[in-house]
Symmetry: C2
Subunit: 146 residues, 2 copies
Amino acid sequence: MTGDNEIFKNALKNSGLSNTKSRRQLFNIFVNSGHKPLSPAEIVNFSNETMDRSTIYRNLETFQKLNIIRPVSIGWKIKYELSEEFHGHHHHMTCIKCGKITTIHDDTDIDLAIKNLSAKRGFQAIEHTLDIRGYCNTCQNFKNPG
Amino acid sequence: MTGDNEIFKNALKNSGLSNTKSRRQLFNIFVNSGHKPLSPAEIVNFSNETMDRSTIYRNLETFQKLNIIRPVSIGWKIKYELSEEFHGHHHHMTCIKCGKITTIHDDTDIDLAIKNLSAKRGFQAIEHTLDIRGYCNTCQNFKNPG
DNA sequence: TTAGATGCAAAGTATTTGCAACCCT
DNA sequence: AGGGTTGCAAATACTTTGCATCTAA
């Protein structure tokens, strides 16, 4: 926890940005979310009027640029979660039918392949999101939309 | 093109859904987008009042369930593009700094690793999106947000 | 014929903006 | 002190909903 805070403060400092009350608060909302991805609007509600909406939106954008948070597409919407520096690396498997999301933590082969590919292209990969879509165990035999 | 249309029509028919004017129109917007991912709002504008907004939103949801389109997280927003059946398989590399998106078509190793992983989990993978974030060639030496 | 699809209209949410006041460094 | 940040307030933009009408099969 304390370590996370250091990383956060340094990210701001290294980019010459201020360590403000709002930014600390926003960061804490993510920390306290239990790693559940949040939409901008959900954060507005969570914050319970302690920050203005516009401040939240502006800082979400800032955090994203600093790679403090990262976007995840969850079904129909986009949400944000702490980036890997805080969160640990993982991937998602989403069922097209029932919407169930499974989180995956071990995928060395995939990560290696991604690393190689990026290097080949001269792209400096910082992190990646992988969303696998298909049918979960339960839904494999009932594919009609319902 | 004609082949794509067949796939589209069959997708509807196989699920017992009607092949309506609106749906054909929406499908064509994607075809004509030159494979650029589109947000719901962009589509509303594109459609130029030929369809009602509500029809567009409802059909986007339908198309997604039928796997005609798929979501892609592009920076701040979520967008849609034709699914692989129409589009061909590919991945995105997005620059955190300038937002530039590079499309990648050859990544056998990654795809193989994903296939293996899914199999191991009893998940029937239909498709996947991979978004690699980092710094593009140009931005690698200028990492401050600006 | 008729279940499903659409348009309309309005309500409900979400996001962005300019500017004056404020607070980090 | 001084520029980056915030709050405020209002304008925009986006998304959803119910219901009557229409249309594809």
